[in-house]
């Protein structure tokens, strides 16, 4: 589509003449309405400023409010007033020009040369250089203290924020009033303005000091009629009334020849009102307030910030064809699908062109109408007329349907939609899903798609958008579909993959001890959607049995080779040294057959680069990987259900002698700590380099009571927990939890810390009144000798809560900080792109990187950042030998 292109935008400053010319009337009185509530002519609600009431006819243009564009008025100021937004530039002009003759403080010869240079730069369109050139001239001119043209001595100009100028003369600081400032700016020749970077045609410097103030149309500042019948005016209207009142008073004082003190006071007040009218958040002056104490909104406040015109209205648009509701999980959906409630499907529509091939189908949809799914809500005739199917004879419309008509039909299975969860931090926060219309009222998604959205089901809501054009639908399907994002560009690896129950299920299914009867095999393969022959059973007599590994192999490509230790091998007790090891912790796939090794997080888990899932996506395509996840993963869940998988209190209990042993270990450590404290009191403790004695002591205590103690106890309890224990299965396979969690549940929580130190806050010299002042012992400073299985003492529970709070506050602070950083980064980088030659450039062609990321590698297609993984290539080519 080619439309009119905007080539250039020019910003300028309105001159007093322009303001008067565009004004329909001078606004002269602070009175707004008369006693009958009729707007007073010459007041801020003057009817000539435009029609705002429903049937009002504009006296200026003759239109009603729908067509009246609104008309400006103006206020003639009794004295000039500085425009706050231009103070920076006024300051620059005052500093660079002569206070007497108004010329740029640069010698005539140089000035001529600079003008020529500037012309040259402009001809070459070297905009960045021009900017620097102006900066150079400004710097040079403001350093001069004697005018090279008239010889007048120059004083330093001082700006007192927000808008008061002083001259540092010999006798002291002398204030320059806006009239004097304006007089100086008027004297600056056009050529000098150009040299300083100004535009004398569209922005003469003196226009930055206002003599006439535009009054915006009433439509810009509408008044609201409250229920009580009282009219409430817009903040800008209030401000304008203030300005007019003070302006009139000032004029009277001048005309009556009042003393200059009074005039100056009134003048300052006018300046204040006009400043706050433009911007009510200027630092250095009091904020103008309502009678209620609420700050008034100036013009700047309408534009600035998140809710302002730019971020709130122009960049943040509301859209049609979108929907939002709570999400819930559905493992029976494909990862590419989203479950859409019927209720939603009846509101969201897709425009479908009627053709000879779909006309009968479209007729059926039209007859079903808006209330019966699948139906249609509107029909658009070739002439563009839109007919709602709500209150018409739908049979007749269906009959009249012909090729060329467009039917806005309900969303139905197979449609493509965009699905999104805020905060949209990366591109996989918005992905395309295929619709499945389902009963109930939540959006449903496969659990495997939670990680990219960072979604869970504790009440999360998500948004859904329906693309309306063929191009948009094609792009969504080809670029944004979930399966295209199994691999993430964040690191070279899959972000979508097994998690939680899928992993424990996979482990149980592929364990050596798992043997499956014929019925089980049929059940499992049925869930996975397998259509084909059953493989030869692994055990024939007395009854045929299959292994879980056999079932997995059915779904692996026939030329797939893979070898990697399983996650459970990270525990020394379960580590396999070679292929003949009984722990089954090396996963080996040869020619598509899972020969040995259990599947766990290391092979099918998410965020596991160089895993089985990763190689499947990379080497056989997203499509196969998706099928693997839709089918095989379902089998994992089904097996976990058949097997039964749960954990309980009893799974964490330790035998009596183990408990005794742990108690002993703790006592030993405590003794160690008391010895340290004694040593400290005796003055025998040596401070570590760079630390005070107290810090040294604390460091040593924390070291003794947390890491080393937890490790020791952890080692002590591992023999009691085997892979038959569901808690251990989860921790070892990487499904959920880790060995430290286990120790904390079964044995002890150990030392609690806040900002990495033992807990000291609370009462004077002690944490709680239960302890003696200055007690340095473990219990008094947040040591917890119990695990969750035993339960905590009240004091321990208090310390645990205190330390837990730190994590919560940290998260809260981190999210807000990273959110803002994200915004700044996006704003700075959004226009960069990788060109076809591999360079990264701005839209204007400036180079940012000579080769994307220095190596030109797309991280999504890399292996953990590497462009070529030599080991894998070898593994793939020569296969893997036992």
């Amino acid at each position: 589509m080619i439309s009119n292109k905007i080539k250039e935008i020019k910003f300028g400053i309105l001159s007093p003449d322009e303001i008067r010319k565009m004004s329909i009337t001078a606004i002269v009185t602070g009175e707004v309405y008369d006693n009958d509530g009729v707007p007073i002519d010459g007041g801020v609600a003057d009817r000539r400023l435009g029609a705002v009431e429903p049937r009002e006819v504009c006296p200026t243009c003759g239109n009603t409010r729908d067509n009246c564009p609104g008309h400006f008025g103006h206020i003639e100021l009794a004295k000039p007033v500085i425009h706050v937004s231009f103070v920076k530039y006024i300051n620059m002009y005052l500093k660079t020009t002569c206070r007497v003759c108004g010329r740029l403080k640069i010698s005539e010869r140089e000035r001529k040369r600079y003008l020529e240079l500037l012309r040259g730069l402009q001809e070459l369109e070297l905009h960045h250089l021009i900017k620097r050139f102006h900066e150079y001239i400004r710097r040079k001119a403001s350093a001069v203290n004697k005018c090279p043209h008239c010889g007048a001595e120059q004083y330093k100009i001082r700006l007192e924020k927000p808008h008061t100028f002083y001259e540092e003369r010999g006798e002291g600081l002398v204030k320059l009033n806006p009239a004097e400032v304006r007089a100086r700016l008027e004297k600056i020749p056009d050529e000098d303005v150009r040299l300083l970077g100004g535009d004398p045609v569209h922005a003469r410097p003196e226009w930055m000091v206002l003599t006439v103030l535009p009054v915006p149309p009433r439509a810009v500042r509408p008044s609201i009629l409250l229920e009580t019948g009282i009219r409430s005016e817009d903040d800008l209207t209030h401000k304008l009334v203030d300005i007019i009142r003070v302006n009139n008073r000032l004029r009277e004082h001048i005309e009556s020849g009042a003393p200059s003190v009074i005039i100056n006071d009134e003048w300052d007040l006018l300046q204040y009102h006009i400043t706050t009218y433009f911007d009510n958040e200027v630092p250095g002056i009091p904020v103008a307030k309502h009678r209620s104490g609420k700050a008034l909104k100036g013009i700047a406040q309408r534009l600035k910030g998140k809710e302002g015109r730019f971020r709130g209205n122009l960049r943040g648009k509301r859209v049609d064809f979108s929907s939002r509701t709570v999400i819930s999980p559905d493992p029976n959906l494909s990862i590419n699908e989203v479950g859409v409630p019927e209720m939603v499907a009846k509101v969201l529509t897709v425009p479908e062109k009627v053709t000879p091939w779909n006309i009968e189908e479209m007729r059926k949809l039209v007859i079903n109408g808006p209330d019966k799914w699948p139906g249609a809500n509107y029909v658009i005739k070739p002439d563009g007329r839109k007919i709602s199917l709500k209150y018409v004879d739908r049979k007749a419309i269906a009959e009249s349907l012909a090729p060329g008509y467009i039917v806005e039909r309900h969303l139905r299975d197979g449609d493509i939609v965009l699905f999104n969860r805020q905060p949209s931090l990366h591109r996989i926060s918005v992905m395309a899903h295929v619709v499945r219309v389902l009963p109930y009222k939540t959006f449903r998604l496969n659990l495997l798609v939670c990680p990219p959205y960072n979604a869970d089901f504790d009440g999360d809501e998500m948004n859904l958008h329906v693309p309306q054009s063929e191009e948009a639908r094609a792009e969504a399907r080809l670029l944004m579909l979930v399966e295209k994002h199994i691999l993430t560009p964040r690191y070279g690896g899959p972000i979508i993959g097994g998690l939680q129950d899928y992993i424990s299920g996979a482990f149980l299914l592929t364990s050596k001890s798992t043997l499956l009867k014929r019925e089980d095999v049929i059940d499992l393969l049925g869930v996975a959607g397998y259509r084909g022959e059953l493989p030869e059973p692994a055990i024939l007599k007395p009854e045929p049995y299959w292994t879980g590994k056999q079932l997995i192999s059915l779904f692996l490509p026939k030329d797939f080779n893979y070898k990697r230790p399983a996650k459970i091998a990270s525990a020394t007790a379960l580590k396999c040294i070679d292929e003949d090891c009984p722990h089954d912790s090396i996963v080996i796939v040869k020619k598509g057959v899972l020969l040995e090794g259990v599947l766990d997080k290391a092979s099918i888990g998410r965020e596991e680069p160089e895993s089985l899932i990763h190689w499947l996506v990379k080497e056989y395509g997203e499509d196969l990987a998706r099928l693997f996840m839709d089918h095989v993963f379902k089998m994992f869940l089904r097996f976990s259900e058949k097997h039964g998988f749960t954990m309980g209190y009893a799974d964490l209990l330790l035998p009596r002698d183990a408990k005794e042993h742990i108690k002993q270990v703790i006592e030993e450590k405590k003794k160690e700590v008391y010895e340290l404290i004694d040593k400290y009191y005796r003055g025998e403790l040596e401070p570590s380099p760079g630390k005070t004695l107290e810090e040294t002591l604390e460091d040593k205590i924390i070291e003794a009571l947390s890491k080393s103690l937890l490790d020791k106890v952890g080692d002590a309890i591992t023999p009691y927990f085997t892979l038959n224990n569901p808690v251990i299965i989860m921790a070892r396979t990487g499904a959920r939890g880790n060995p430290v969690n286990l120790t904390q549940m079964a044995a002890l929580l150990a030392q609690q810390t806040i900002s990495g130190r033992r807990i000291t806050r609370g009462y004077l010299h002690r944490t709680l009144p239960h302890f003696k002042p200055k007690d340095l012992g473990p219990e008094a400073r947040g040591f917890i000798a119990h695990g969750f299985v035993d339960g905590l003492t009240p004091i321990e529970m208090f310390f645990h809560a205190a330390a837990g709070r730190e994590g919560l506050t940290d998260t809260a602070v981190r999210t807000s900080q990273s959110g803002y950083m994200q915004r700044r980064l996006i704003n700075a980088l959004q226009d960069l792109r990788v060109e076809y030659d591999g360079t990264v450039r701005l839209p204007t062609g400036e180079i940012v990187q000579f080769l994307y990321g220095e190596d030109g590698v797309d991280p999504m297609k890399s292996d953990h950042g590497k462009s070529v993984n030599v080991e894998r290539v070898i593994q793939k080519v020569i296969g893997w030998r036992i």
Binding site: R132, F133, Y136, G845, E846, F850, G853, E854, G856, G865
Partner: protein
């Protein structure tokens, strides 16, 4: 504290990559390859210590050869400019 007389040659420093001034022919070849005007290259100030050391002049193009953990070696170019915003010595334009 090192004495004031201690002077190191930053050209020899481990962390300073190789900088070379391109001849006009090489420079125009680079510009042609990238299809850009010199000002569209990233800029480097004439006051940058390395630029002074290799005696580059405003308008020159510098080739920088860096060690890169991912690419082994990566090449970048800089366009030498006079820094009017943070001038070190007087004169200039």
């Amino acid at each position: 504290m090192p004495s004031k007389k201690t002077k190191i040659n930053i050209l020899e420093h481990e962390l300073v990559p190789k900088h070379e001034v391109l001849s006009p022919e090489e420079a125009s070849k680079v510009l042609k390859r990238l299809n850009i005007k010199p000002t569209q290259l990233p800029w480097i100030s004439i006051d940058d210590p390395i630029v002074r050391l290799i005696k580059a002049k405003p308008g020159d193009i510098i080739k920088i050869t860096r060690k890169s953990p991912t690419a082994g070696e990566s090449i970048a170019y800089r366009y030498v400019v006079v820094d009017t915003l943070h001038p070190k010595k007087k004169g200039g334009k």
